[in-house]
């Protein structure tokens, strides 16, 4: 499986789509996480009676002390969507290029091919996660220096929890995308339907959950809701917290439950994808 991992990392490294997705995500992360909030803060254009407090909260959110929550704010919705696309491209592309037959006639077993592919995906997701934190740390340090504000980062344990949570959230979405690519045996269908699920269906269910208990029960099992709950459990402001809150972040379930549910989705995706890949004919 190590050989497959090495081959898949070579493919990912040379694939333009990987660089585009990574670049777009990192740019979005910096733009919406640091640049725009800081520009709003600097412009002094906040309205309302509590504008001084809101302005202070805006600055605090982009300082190094808030690194973990500010970075993770974007993971449940936007980061997840980007990584979901990456996962679907990785597996769905093999059907689009008809390369599955080429890979399956080399030497590794099908299950090893899948294992190596998904391992490569999680490695890339980890790298993306770490780079997000590093770039965000740089941006927050610059802002702290410019504003002469405290430049201390969160404790190492909190950083580690944040990195692990980010990896779990992005990894789960990536694996779901990979499963969709295999299930639909194409890229377009997998990307399209997965994004509709992540960005539309889950939000609709959340909306109905306010009105009907049955939907509330359902939403507690949704991947996006649990991702948002995990980020909220780390102290990130939720959707109801005004300008500081990020879409998709809400403490619907506790942090521990969120970790368990996300892990179940990740493992379940691998198992279902493995079953489909092992049983189907490659035509």
């Amino acid at each position: 499986m190590i050989n497959v991992l090495s081959a898949e990392l070579l493919k990912l490294r040379k694939r333009p789509a990987t660089r585009i997705i990574a670049g777009a995500w990192l740019a979005m992360n910096l733009t919406f996480g640091y640049l725009i909030p800081y520009l709003i803060y600097r412009s002094g254009s906040l309205a309302g009676p509590d504008r001084a407090a809101a302005s202070g909260q805006l600055l605090a959110a982009v300082l190094p002390a808030s690194l973990v929550t500010n970075v993770l704010n974007g993971y449940p919705l936007f980061g997840g969507a980007m990584v979901l696309i990456l996962g679907a491209l990785m597996t769905g592309g093999e059907y689009g290029f008809s390369t599955l037959k080429t890979l399956f006639t080399q030497r590794p077993r099908r299950i090893d091919v899948l294992g190596g592919t998904l391992a490569a995906l999680t490695v890339v997701v980890l790298a993306l996660n770490v780079v997000s934190f590093v770039l965000s740390a740089g941006a927050s340090s610059i802002i702290a220096a410019v504003e002469s504000a405290p430049g201390a980062f969160p404790p190492a344990a909190e950083l580690a929890r944040g990195l692990a949570s980010g990896w779990l959230i992005l990894g789960m979405w990536g694996l779901l995308g990979a499963l969709a690519g295999i299930a639909f045996r194409s890229t377009a269908m997998a990307v399209g339907l997965s994004l509709v699920w992540a960005l539309v269906i889950e939000n609709l269910i959340r909306g109905f959950a306010v009105l009907l208990d049955a939907f509330d029960t359902v939403q507690r099992a949704l991947p996006g809701v649990n991702a948002g709950s995990l980020v909220a459990a780390l102290g990130a402001p939720g959707q109801g917290d005004g300008a500081r809150g990020a879409p998709g972040v809400a403490a619907v379930v506790g942090g521990t439950q969120a970790v368990v549910v996300l892990a179940c989705y990740a493992v379940g995706s691998v198992l279902v994808a493995g079953t489909l890949l092992a049983r189907r004919d490659v035509t």
Partner: protein, 329 residues
């Protein structure tokens, strides 16, 4: 290929599938009543018994849709049979121990369009645990070195086909499975490919070549299997299939010549063919036939031996002979 890899082959051979009791030392591929049904009704491959021996170039011949590619996909473990059995090097299809000794190109070559030809082979080298320095050798063999850094998506059909064969050669396999390898090649490229396949199959390496180009098969195959509508209708050497040479006779009057020839050889051995007579008789009988006809006053303008091409044999077998051949008498 390293000696270490060849040495390592003895171990798996000792661990052959215990159910494969019919496996002989020379049979690399063996199928027994191999069958593939789709949706319970469409029979793509029907009870095919096929054997590919060590060191031979085996032509797997059939029209488009006859079941060639489906059979090859089953041998590689890409699709599962619905009936029968198959073994490759004594292992079930798709077993890594068998795949390690096979190089294959099935239908159109499939690679990543965003990678160069060389990077595509590097990916596959990592997959099959082959040193990456063998990539350049495979590219050189297929005359792709000059374009190896170009993206696969920019390759012509012929170059893609050659890259497919280069990929199949990467493992220095004992068995090459090539599905229509001359597709998309120009005449010079086809000639080169024929020579390459002949060369590759000249040692202990075997080649299982699927084609509907019967001229190619006649030139390069030692044995052939003919598949029609999913059934293997013949498996033999090319010479055996083509049969002994016969005689073609041009004479006037033709009816009298046909009558005399039928008397001499038997009616079932004489057929009319485009204003001539096709005699199922060897060159040694030519003098006898000629003398009898001339003595009877028939004007013999031509009497010469002919050999049936593989294409003619194939068309006869598959009952699609466009020529109006009918027995006399």
């Amino acid at each position: 290929m390293s000696e270490a890899r060849h040495a390592a082959r003895s171990a798996p051979e000792a661990e052959r599938d215990p159910g494969d009791t019919g496996m002989t030392a020379d049979a690399l591929v063996r199928t027994r009543e191999l069958t593939k049904h789709y949706r319970g009704a469409i029979v793509a491959v029907n009870r095919v018994d096929l054997t590919v021996r060590r060191g031979e170039v085996y032509g797997f011949l059939g029209a488009n849709g006859a079941g060639k590619t489906t059979t090859l996909r089953m041998l590689l473990g890409l699709i599962r049979p619905t009936g029968g059995t198959a073994t490759v090097f004594g292992y079930p299809p798709g077993d890594p121990r068998g795949l390690a000794r096979i190089g294959a190109m099935i239908e159109t070559p499939a690679f990543y369009p965003y990678l160069s030809g060389r990077d595509n082979l590097r990916v596959l080298a990592r997959y099959c645990q082959v040193p990456e320095n063998q990539v350049d050798g495979a590219l050189d063999t297929m005359d792709l070195t000059a374009r190896c850094h170009d993206k696969f998506g920019t390759y012509s059909l012929g170059m893609k086909q050659r890259l497919g064969v280069a990929a199949a050669l990467l493992k220095d396999p004992e068995l090459l499975i090539l599905d229509e390898p001359t597709n998309g090649l120009d005449p010079a490229g086809m000639a080169d490919m024929r020579a390459l396949i002949r060369r590759l199959g000249s040692g202990r390496r075997s080649v299982l070549l699927s084609s509907h180009l019967l001229g190619d098969a006649q030139q390069i195959c030692d044995r052939v299997g003919v598949i029609s509508r999913g059934q293997l209708i013949a498996e033999s050497t090319v010479e055996e299939l083509r049969g002994a040479a016969s005689l073609m006779l041009t004479a006037q009057p033709l009816d009298e010549a046909a009558r005399l020839a039928a008397e001499l050889l038997g009616p079932h051995r004489v057929q009319r063919h485009n204003g001539q007579l096709h005699l199922d008789a060897g060159p040694a009988d030519a003098a006898l036939v000629n003398r009898a006809l001339v003595l009877a006053g028939v004007q013999v303008s031509a009497l010469h031996p002919v050999e049936r091409t593989l294409e003619e044999v194939f068309l006869t077998m598959t009952q699609e002979d466009p020529n109006d051949q009918r027995p006399v008498g």
